[in-house]
Amino acid sequence: MIAFWLSIVIIGIFTFITRLSFILLLGNKEIPPIVIRALRLVPPAVLSAIIFPELLSPGGQLDLSLGNARLLAGLLAALIAWRTRNILLTIGAGMAALLLLQMLPGL
């Protein structure tokens, strides 16, 4: 069991170092403009990379059919996010759509 505890501590230390890496390294050094431009693209790239598989391949398999309730609910949520910029409304509408679609027979 001591080996387990030790493993947890090692994983924790490495995770912390990963999170601290650029924050501490950067210090007062000047950041090249290309890097600043690249960093601005991190949020859309990473968050989409999390979102797309959740919507397009919910069971691990690519599913572009109308039977894919998560895809339809996600598209509706994206439309609402675009028109209203309201986080709670987006979540509420997306969840409502998902639960309704899951209740429909034959899906």
Partner: protein, 291 residues
């Protein structure tokens, strides 16, 4: 400039919608950790020491399947590599803070805290840009003061910057990232709200051993939250290209092990966004410009 307290509370508030998805996720982790045969203390220690949902899930999966410890350690570290991207992304905004703050904020740098914090920082960048260019009467004086203060501060409070080249010093003081504000309290509020929810929800899962219903698909709220954060931020072509290419690449790379597909897809998306930006400049400006 809002007070530290106001920023902290704004950070907590911004994190609240994400907690709807995080809390059931934490409880499921607690239940699965106990089912995998881990003692309660160790299961909870993982939440405090590792504090990263996907790495914790992967770890208990591997423990349950009898994997030796070394591969478990390596796998968990790889799953957490994406945090290096987040670290690089928030670093410019908190580089003026003392080391203790940096360590604390690094510990709190999770997917969910990153998502709301970077959104807030980018909004602030956008607000500053629009405030300096088409001058808005209320904010001109404020912005000018900020710049003066910032230059003073650079010279007087940060002796280390004096060693830099004059050109660097200039670009530092005109860099909006180094202007003083209390947004690190926003980050702290978002991070601590998530931290407390994660600790309490995993503890609840561990000790109550409650049956968490998956019928309600509450995990989907996390994807919806990310949609709500990403879509309004798609303001220019580079961001749209980065999002579309990153997303499609993630779907294609979904079979790569250990969530490496996520890191790979994000990098492809960023490169595609940069490329589209450079290509866009070449077509608008004759001759173009190398980055």
């Amino acid at each position: 400039m809002a007070s530290p307290r106001a920023q902290f509370l704004a950070g907590v508030q911004a994190e609240l919608p994400l907690l709807v998805g995080v809390i059931p996720f934490g409880m499921i982790y607690g239940v699965l950790a106990r089912n995998a045969g881990l003692p309660a203390g160790l299961s909870q220690a993982m939440s405090a020491v590792i504090f990263a949902g996907s790495a914790q899930f992967v770890t208990i999966q591997l423990v349950a399947s009898g994997t030796p410890l070394l591969p478990i350690i390596i796998t968990a570290i790889i799953v957490n590599l994406r945090h290096a991207l987040y670290s690089a992304s928030v670093a410019p905004y908190i580089q003026h803070l003392p080391r203790g703050w940096k360590m604390l904020l690094a510990y709190l740098l999770t997917d969910e805290a990153y998502a709301v914090t970077i959104t807030r920082y980018l909004e602030e960048d956008h607000r500053r840009l629009t405030a300096t260019h088409p001058p808005c009467p209320n904010e001109v004086g404020d912005t000018a003061n900020h710049q003066v203060n910032s230059a003073d501060r650079q010279a007087s409070l940060q002796p280390s910057t004096l060693n830099l080249q004059p050109s660097n010093l200039h670009s530092q003081s005109s860099n909006p990232h180094s202007q003083p504000n209390n947004l690190h309290y926003f980050y702290l509020g978002a991070g601590l709200a998530l931290w407390a929810s994660w600790q309490l929800s995993t503890a609840a899962g561990i000790f109550l051993g409650a049956q968490i219903s998956t019928r309600w698909s509450l995990d989907f709220t996390l994807a919806l939250t990310f949609i709500a954060l990403v879509v309004p931020a798609l303001k220019d072509r580079a961001a749209i290209v980065a999002a579309l290419v990153g997303g499609v690449a993630a779907v294609l790379a979904v079979d790569l092990p250990l969530r490496l597909g996520l890191v790979f897809a994000a990098l492809v998306g960023i490169l595609a966004g940069l490329w589209s930006e450079t290509a866009g400049r070449k077509t608008t400006k004759a001759g173009g410009e190398k980055p």
